[in-house]
Assembly symmetry: C2
Homo-oligomer: 538 residues x 2
């Protein structure tokens, strides 16, 4: 409802929903707040916070901002209500015995499920239900974004504290609790994070929930982080989630979905999609994401006569915005991405005196390599963004970026995951093997071995006649591990055919699929990028 009111305020200049919403928010804030007589509570599922901040940004309704900030500050206070944790206070009101609890709480008082085990600023690791965690941190990031953009001030110490919290929890998530597909949330019971480095590939190994909505939440958070700190590592994760854990959640024909997205199938949990879910949050969330995808592609800022356009994602798209009443800026990108790394740009500015800077993201896997036509000398690459100056753009309104290293590459999870696996990727796409392409496989590729020799990987352009879909298939040499763990590399290699992970479960088969194969040998890791890939590792 708040989002609808925001839309009304922003796009329709329509007060029909805005005024009642203000009154409703005031009503909520009368109930919850810091003063005597107000409850010291906050939602079990963080979500309203980011909506309140969006509503504030659209309407400047101060109580919306105050209420959001109150929820974010009060959350996890161990003595918030009558000297007790608010959830304890509520449980006592309900006369609950300690052994009564929701199914998602593995133990009594598992308040980390709701990110309420400690005040947000004191949390050192990302915990609990993944979607809740992402929506919560997105609201925290919005506080900082609103401050940076001058809409709602924070003291510098408070801003710094929220920013450190965001960076600490983001780093813990990406470095230690994220799958190479951008999935988060290893544990089904609480649809959320497990221990550091606990990232089993499938349910038969005890995990891999990787909910679609959670990766959409990662994208929401990454989009805010890019506003706060233009670092391509945020955009890399944003793109990783989009093309892999999120895009795999819908079938090519748009009729079937997944909720959780494991990296390996098993007899009990095959690789397949469903038409509907009892709790169907993911399909409409995908729809919402695709409907707002334009907001993730690029950001632009206008500072007097200076315009900055930061391009995060490459696809076929056009950006048009006005500077003042009389100037229009138009940027168009044309590409076959993610099938290739070439992107053509066309910039059109209706007033010559406007100074336009365009920053183009270089993904970590490009290792900072690129080609630009026409060429430019002395280009700056700052945190993975290549900066095209107003001078270059004035001379070259048409230019073409070719992102480097657009070749099959090997990715391994961190050694502490105990996975000992190798996966293949091409550009932003992570690959998987399916039995439909490898009908000899009967054990979910559990014993299929890859070695990290790039020269052993071939690629073919495929057009599937049934679906009309075009994609790049990879072919890699593979071997077989026996029950004692022995791999006989003297045996002739077999060809393993791999397809993009998003493409899985679209063409029938037995539902056998795997992303990470057994890593053969242990000494040739020079060719392997450990997840998360970073520019520094180049």
């Amino acid at each position: 409802l708040i989002e609808a009111a925001v839309a009304h305020a922003q796009y329709y200049k329509n007060e029909l929903l805005v005024e009642p919403m203000k009154r409703y928010i005031t009503l909520i804030h009368n109930k919850f707040g810091p003063s005597e007589g107000q409850l010291k509570g906050y939602p079990g599922h963080p979500e309203i916070e980011l909506a309140l901040l969006r509503f504030y940004a659209a309407t400047q309704h101060q109580e919306s901002y105050d209420l959001a900030k109150y929820f974010l500050t009060e959350r996890g206070n161990p003595k918030g209500q009558d000297g007790k944790h608010y959830y304890d206070y509520e449980a006592e009101l309900r006369n609950e015995p300690p052994w009564q609890r929701p199914d998602c709480y593995p133990e009594n008082r598992s308040y980390w499920y709701n990110q309420a085990h400690a005040p947000i600023q004191e949390q050192s690791t990302i915990e609990g239900h993944s979607v809740r965690a992402m929506y919560l941190l997105t609201a925290v990031a919005d506080l900082v974004v609103l401050s940076d953009s001058g809409v709602a001030e924070l003291s510098s110490s408070e801003k710094n504290m929220w920013l450190q919290t965001l960076k600490r929890l983001w780093a813990n998530m990406v470095d230690k609790k994220m799958y190479i597909t951008g999935g988060i949330g290893a544990i089904k019971q609480w649809e959320g994070f497990g221990l550091d480095y606990f990232l089993p590939q499938g349910t038969d190994e005890g995990g891999c929930y990787s909910e679609t909505c959670a990766s959409i939440g990662v994208m929401m958070l990454a989009e805010r982080m890019l506003l706060i700190d233009l670092d391509s590592s945020y955009a890399d994760i944003l793109e990783l989630c989009l093309y892999n854990n999120v895009m795999t959640s819908m079938s090519l024909d748009g009729k079937k979905f997944t909720y959780d997205n494991q990296l390996a199938s098993s007899d009990k949990t095959k690789s397949e999609r469903n038409e509907w879910f009892w709790c169907a949050c993911c399909p409409p969330n995908v729809t919402r994401l695709f409907g707002s995808l334009g907001g993730y592609l690029w950001h632009h800022t206008v500072e007097k006569d200076q315009v900055f356009i930061n391009v995060h994602l490459y696809t076929n798209a056009e950006l048009t915005f006005k500077v003042g009443d009389d100037t229009t800026v138009h940027l168009k990108q044309t590409t076959t991405w993610p099938a290739s790394g070439s992107v053509s740009f066309e910039l059109d500015v209706s007033r010559g005196s406007l100074s336009v800077t365009t920053r183009l993201r270089l993904p970590a896997w490009s290792k900072g390599h690129y080609n630009l036509e026409p060429p430019a000398a002395g280009l700056r690459n700052t945190k993975g963004y290549l900066e095209l100056t107003p001078e270059y753009l004035a001379q070259n309104p048409k230019f073409k970026l070719s992102v480097g290293e657009f070749e099959p590459r090997f990715i391994a999870p961190h050694p502490y995951t105990n996975q000992n696996t190798l996966a293949l990727a091409l550009g932003p796409l992570v690959y998987c093997a399916e039995d439909v392409d490898n009908p000899w496989e009967t054990n979910h590729f559990k014993d299929v071995v890859l070695r990290s020799s790039p020269e052993q990987v071939a690629q073919s352009q495929i057009r599937d006649d049934a679906t009309g879909h075009e994609y790049v298939q990879l072919q890699a040499d593979c071997w077989q591990r026996d029950a004692s763990g022995h791999i006989n590399f003297e045996e002739e290699a077999r060809i393993l055919k791999l397809v993009p992970y998003y493409y899985r479960a679209n063409r029938g088969g037995k539902g056998q699929m795997r992303v990470g194969m057994v890593k053969g040998g242990g000494t040739e890791s020079g060719h392997v990028n450990v997840f998360p890939e970073t520019l520094a590792s180049a």
Copy 2:
């Protein structure tokens, strides 16, 4: 109490406790049983069943046998009481909402915690609380043992069904849910079994409870299995548990204990012992085990003028029993086991016409190799038991067995555990590394790499002056893994010193310890025994 009554009946021929106990058991059976008006219940913690069967064996009190068998047969019946599972029936009586449950139930109706999710005979995998599971199956095995020994008959189909159940659940446990130290129960929350092959080494990896009592339960079950089927694989597991997961639970000075026994420490869970526990089941259980150890060493049977002595464990011990009123059989074994594989035997039979057969266990790691002095031609090795005939023993009442392959060896868990580790063992002892011997280590040996080259492993006899304890230390070449998983074998190897696992946490240090090190390379598995070791793999 029942056990005390058994002792009274067996050893003191004292009816003081026996008669009241019979009346008490009758009272329980009046309450629980198959007839109308009786409750269709059974205990949440299986334990009374094996006590009832021991009581029956000592007293022939029929109701004890009937009640035990009723509990074992009724358990897990989905429609036992008023068309409902008995636990559901009880929960309804208590007016419990479905989200009210004990802390050990991760989800509602986790009746697998109590091995009550299905009738025992229909259970395909071993599940739930490990101690409960072992005590339960020990009672099941006792049913078969009592039938085999003619004390209480079972129909052959019923006996076969129980036997298949025992073998199926034993195999699942040993092959897929047991640590190389004989520990079972990977999951702390329910002190019990996880998924097949889910065997993380420490709490920082999400598991490894390995309760002391659970391994004592394995020993109890293995002892019964050896009565049912003389196969050295049962005795191998019995010995593995004794010398590793059980013996490590008490400090050398007998004053400190462990409850759970992880294979690797972490900053949060160091390798250490405690003086007391809130629920102190393990220390007295160890005491009870050590007090009854004689019953685990050997079994003897008398069939008319034929005597069979099956020797399962080697240590310094003497066995004396009477055959009839006038004949005494005495077998003495002398050895430094587990420090060496040589065992001297002395058989003394007071009547020459008695035919004595002795069967000596060959552990799987001996690969069936042994030396016998004086030698004997054409000895039969049946399922890992070397059979010394009456003829040989009559000529050689003194003989000496030297078990082969008593050399350091490498053990790896099954590849599906995703552990990718190598451990060292010597005879029945599994080894670990501690920081007290390797003070250069600061990360719990998490990145220490071993390669399976037996020629790189040296051994030294050590006598610890502080404790007076003597043991064999192993020294192996080791390397270091970096954060990308890379191992540089070109670097000079460092020496890793290892001690028996039972010996850990006796000499101070920082509490850093690990059993399974990173397995360097993947191709040299010819030297590695995959757990569980079997004679067939020789």
